[in-house]
């Protein structure tokens, strides 16, 4: 999936932003970039389910790797 950013600028001045296709912490870099681009400050931020699933998957892979290494050392 291509990496994208979708922005909504409302008539009340509020800006809503969503990063698309960024499943690692790269998306966090865009908090500061968007604040500078828009001369705005972030008042709310949430990770989407896609991001959390990717984080959980990465954690599980790391745990499996640690377990395998422990087993190798124990032999």
């Amino acid at each position: 999936m291509k990496k994208k950013i979708r922005l909504e600028i409302t008539a009340a001045g509020e800006i809503r932003a969503k990063t698309i296709g960024m499943n690692d912490e790269e998306c966090l870099d865009y908090v500061e970039i968007l604040e500078e681009l828009l001369d705005a400050e972030t008042i709310d931020s949430t990770f989407t389910e896609e991001f959390l699933r990717a984080q959980q998957h990465q954690y599980q892979e790391e745990q499996t790797e640690v377990k395998q290494q422990t087993e190798v050392k124990g032999e």
């Binding site: 291509k2 990496k3 994208k4 950013i5 979708r6 922005l7 909504e8 600028i9 409302t10 008539a11 009340a12 001045g13 509020e14 800006i15 809503r16 932003a17 969503k18 990063t19 698309i20 296709g21 960024m22 499943n23 998306c27 966090l28 865009y30 908090v31 970039i33 968007l34 604040e35 500078e36 681009l37 828009l38 001369d39 705005a40 400050e41 972030t42 008042i43 709310d44 931020s45 949430t46 990770f47 989407t48 896609e50 991001f51 990717a54």
Partner: protein
């Protein structure tokens, strides 16, 4: 999608829930003050002029008049700008005036935000892919991130 953000332009205060509120009486009750979320005096001046006000801006305050009604805007300690009305102006009229002024103010903020974004995005590797305006006047822009 991986991260959702809500941002407020620095021209708008984030501290107050309402866009304007009765703050209190000033100068022995002859005038009263209404607080706003407005922070940028130049945008405020433009908004007032767009709505037919005659406006003068100096270092301390903005003086605005429409018909025979004069309104003074002063910056507060929290960086927001409050409006001061003479007691002859009803609270209802003052609130309606501020509501209309604030709507014009945020319309200008929206336009300025869009202009800045279009001007600066390329430097951050963001390429505009699509742009639409919804029925509620929300601008929706999608950028591709250059890798």
């Amino acid at each position: 999608m991986s991260l959702s953000l809500t941002l407020i332009p620095i021209a708008i205060a984030t501290t107050s829930i309402v866009s304007y509120a009765l703050q209190g009486k000033v100068e022995e009750g002859a005038y009263y003050k209404l607080d706003t979320k407005i922070k940028d005096e130049n945008i405020l001046k433009e908004a007032l002029e767009n709505r037919g006000n005659v406006v003068s801006l100096d270092e301390k305050q903005i003086e605005s008049s429409i018909g025979n009604v004069e309104i003074v805007f002063q910056r507060q300690e929290d960086e927001t700008i409050s409006a001061i009305f003479h007691e002859d102006v009803s609270l209802e009229d003052a609130e309606a005036f501020l509501k209309n002024t604030y709507e014009e103010y945020t319309r200008i903020v929206q336009h300025n935000t869009y202009e800045k974004l279009i001007e600066r995005a390329k430097n951050e590797g963001l390429l505009l892919e699509s742009e639409t305006r919804n029925e509620d006047d929300t601008l929706v822009l999608t950028f591709q991130v250059k890798e």
